[in-house]
């Protein structure tokens, strides 16, 4: 390389300066092309498990707690999708709720009173993971400290 440049002394200095620059530019191009991740960035949603079947077996009865006291002691959100109707049906401590917005405002009201209230998300088996985690995320992003997914 060097000898050729030396033999072509008549070349302008611009020519000899171009090559390293192109080298570097190509290098940068390759660098950014390969490091650019075309995958979407994944984040983590910390979760916790509530083994409902076991905790119920250990308790005195199989019935859910009375709504009056469970309003402050813990919140169970059941999710199901009734046949025929297209939407979801949520039950917030046995109170039927039809929209996610209403569920959100109820959650906010409870969390404002007691942020560490245990919230148990109990979707039916047929509910998709995305819809179950959306409710979980709703509770988390409204500031709930203890949100559990039911394990069966």
């Amino acid at each position: 390389m060097k000898t050729r440049f030396a033999s072509q002394g008549s070349r302008t200095s611009l020519d000899s300066m171009m090559t390293p620059m192109i080298d570097v530019v190509f290098l940068l191009l390759v660098f950014f092309l390969t490091t650019a991740s075309f995958q979407r960035l994944e984040k983590l949603l910390p979760s916790a498990v509530s083994a409902e079947s076991e905790s119920q077996a250990g308790g005195t009865s199989d019935e859910p707690p009375k709504p009056s006291e469970s309003d402050v002691s813990d919140c169970v959100i059941k999710i199901n999708r009734p046949e025929g109707s297209g939407g979801f049906q949520y039950r917030f401590n046995d109170t039927p709720i039809t929209s996610l917005e209403e569920l959100g405002s109820r959650l906010r009201a409870v969390i404002r009173v007691r942020p560490d209230v245990p919230i148990v998300v109990d979707p039916e088996d047929s509910i998709s993971a995305g819809d179950a985690l959306r409710v979980y995320d709703l509770a988390k992003s409204n500031g709930a400290l203890a949100v559990y997914m039911v394990a069966r």
Partner: protein
């Protein structure tokens, strides 16, 4: 001097890229759920990743496994890491039925691990 710098840069890039690729090895392309409360993963805790594809089944390290195997893999990994609790990362497709996940969550809970995380995409709801 210039060729040496060229080569050095090339090596730097090579190692940067290969370490980047090593991180993404054998991850299924899944349509993860979206969540607004997701956090970035900076922890270097020992982690077992269980993937739940849309067509059912569970995968650990690229191999199809049963629920019983998931449990033994987690227990083996816990022993390797000194017997303490480890992190279990669940990469699930958003269309998987919750019943499938609930069984997996129970197996994870039965191994005594409570640090269970879901891989999600950042965003508002699904």
């Amino acid at each position: 001097m210039t060729p040496m710098i060229d080569v050095t840069f090339l090596l730097i890039i090579f190692f940067l890229v290969s370490s980047h690729l090593a991180k993404q090895e054998n991850f299924l392309p899944l349509d993860l759920p979206s969540a607004a409360a997701g956090i970035a993963d900076f922890s270097d805790r020992p982690t077992v990743t269980v993937q739940v594809p849309k067509d059912g089944g569970y995968q650990v390290n690229g191999a199809e496994v049963s629920l019983v195997q998931v449990r033994s893999i987690i227990l083996t990994r816990m022993q390797e890491e000194g017997g303490g609790p480890i992190r279990i990362r669940i990469r699930t497709d958003r269309n998987v039925a919750y019943g499938t996940l609930a069984k997996l969550l129970k197996e994870c809970a039965l191994t005594g691990n409570s640090d269970i995380v879901f891989a999600v995409y950042e965003g508002e709801g699904a």
